[in-house]
Amino acid sequence: MANSISVNLISGRTIQQGVAIESGKEKPSYRTACGIIEMDSTDLKKLGAWKNTNVKVTTDYGSVIVKAVEATQGPHPGVAFIPMGPWANSVVSDNTYSTGMPTFKGTPAKVEIAMNEPVLLGIELVQKQCGVKVG
């Protein structure tokens, strides 16, 4: 059991993400579908986290609170997956190495338990990070 573990972070589409973006990104269902990190059961054990615990994911480019869930398409020890969306993109580098395309897959990340911190809604998360005043 450790306070934090290191993983290789990737993102991508899930069918739940597809349904959620079509049913409304302002809704909590978007957070349920994409405000998560899918981790291998061995990695969850290493971290000492129960399934469905909130965790803080930190990279060189930012940090975000998401809910840790057990990988649905595993096993993939050492690899963690956040569905594509603002949660994943809060911790991704914008360096495109002159291709126009950021490296969305393969970001070294640290995951630690953050039981009492909330997972924000999608639009709220982006507005907060951008400092948008909301009336």
Binding site: I21, M84, T96
Partner: protein, 438 residues
């Protein structure tokens, strides 16, 4: 009485299923049921009917609240924003039809804007590779009728293109593939044991980001040359077995996705995948195809290419089209802080760009044309909701294999709402006046 409309096109993903059946009310105003689509496609149609939909353009006020304005005022605001800006970025285009894209290009020319589509964050690197070494490709109909070796490399159609496998690539019984799934061998390359990989005859669980090495090793294995014991996490015997499987078919197809376009080697991965396809053609017939995501991202590339000569990341600020990904591409422009006005249509960079680029959007004057509420509309100054493309208006779009298809309108948009094409025409005409263009 209700009416059933058949042969409707689903405007969600690049598969562009054309067999959807939609039940609408007698007056054509309510969409009641959707048949044949996958869950995502069904949701796409049904969400247009939700009662909490935003119906009028809204301008953000100083206190952060929204004020409803008319489409005319919204078009004025947008035209002025583009006329004033030195380097506006017009981004998106993938969830709208080719007709609207073409009007958008006229606007971009007058405004001397940078224009880009969502290939920037999906298959942009593929387009670079195709310009490097070409693309031996085919249509999905050929895959259905001929392919007996199907490779999904770094893509997960079970989640991203849910009916791709049942309509084209795995299950259908085609002319030369009469036994459907039994006639085909499925090879999946993915660092995760995805739901697609679980169906495969062979899954190569490549080490994440090592696709280039594995592609290269397969090329070596085809030639029967020496290989190290393990490449990219895969034992050499398994690589040789995979090479034999690929070689032994009569018609093979490599589909590839974000797993290769978005990991570190980017366009070089695709170069190598295309080179593998070329090598395989020494033994049998092979094709390769990108799994394009948005329903009309392919069309956007086509329209850009025939009007400007380049498929994405076009910079018109000097009055002629320049293309240089890394320099003229959206995320680089935003990251360097060069953009002074943001125009988004039919896409959601707020959710799908790295947050540092989104911050650059929030810092400038901006308009977001989208029927949905999104993180992009959440950070934009003006949000213009429009009719749902492919549901409330028709228009031309391109399937992932570059086949153009006409979308069908199935219901009327709510009263007073206009299409994105109509709104773009309003903006274009105003901008012409402001710039004194005939």
């Amino acid at each position: 009485m209700t009416k059933v409309i058949t042969d409707v096109i689903c405007p969600f993903c690049g598969t562009l299923c054309d067999d959807i059946e939609v039940t609408v009310s007698d007056d054509g105003k309510k969409l009641l049921e959707v048949a044949n689509a996958c869950v995502i496609g069904t949701e796409k149609f049904l969400h247009s009917q939700s009662s909490d939909r935003v119906m009028k353009p809204r301008l953000r006020q100083d206190d952060g609240s929204w004020k409803e304005i008319s489409y005319e005022d919204a078009a004025d605001y947008t035209a002025k924003l583009l006329a004033k800006a030195k380097k506006p970025l017009m981004y998106g285009w993938s969830s709208t039809n080719c007709e609207a894209q073409s009007v958008g290009n006229e606007i971009a020319e007058i405004a001397k804007a940078c224009c880009d589509n969502t290939a920037a964050v999906c298959h942009g690197t593929t387009l670079i590779a195709v310009q490097d070494i070409g693309l031996p490709t085919c249509t999905l109909g050929e895959v259905k009728n001929r392919a007996d070796r199907v490779i999904f490399w770094g893509c997960n159609p079970a989640h991203a293109h849910p009916r791709h496998m049942s309509r084209y690539s795995i299950f259908p019984r085609g002319f030369f593939t009469g036994k459907g799934q039994m006639s085909r061998k499925l090879v999946v390359v993915d660092p995760r044991c995805t739901d697609t990989a679980k169906m495969a005859d062979m899954h190569l669980q490549v080490e994440q980001g090592r696709d280039y090495e594995l592609l290269n090793a397969l090329r070596i294995a085809l030639k029967g040359e020496w290989l190290p014991d393990v490449v990219a996490g895969i034992p050499s015997e398994k690589i040789r077995e995979a090479a034999d499987t690929l070689k032994s078919g009569r018609f093979g197809i490599i589909f590839f996705g974000m797993g290769v376009t978005q990991s570190l080697s980017k366009n070089h991965n695709i170069d190598e995948a295309i080179a593998l396809t070329k090598d395989l053609n020494e033994y049998t017939k092979y094709s390769i195809m990108p799994m394009r995501g948005h329903y009309n991202v392919t069309g956007s590339g086509e329209v850009f290419a025939w009007q400007f000569g380049f498929p994405y990341s076009v910079d018109l600020t000097r009055g002629f089209a320049r293309y240089n990904p890394g320099d003229t591409s959206s995320i680089d422009l935003l990251a360097r802080g060069e953009v002074d006005a943001m125009f988004t249509i039919g896409s959601d960079p707020g959710a799908h760009f790295p947050i540092s680029a989104v911050k650059a959007i929030a810092n400038v004057d901006s308009v977001c044309i989208d029927p949905h509420l999104t993180p992009t509309s959440g950070v934009s100054k003006l949000h213009v909701p429009v009719a749902f493309n492919g549901v409330e208006c028709g228009g031309n779009c391109y399937r992932m294999d570059n086949v153009p298809i006409d979308c069908r309108k199935v219901v009327e948009p709510p009263q007073g709402m206009i299409t994105d094409e109509a709104f773009l025409i309003m903006v274009r005409d105003r901008l012409k006046k402001l710039k004194g263009v005939a």
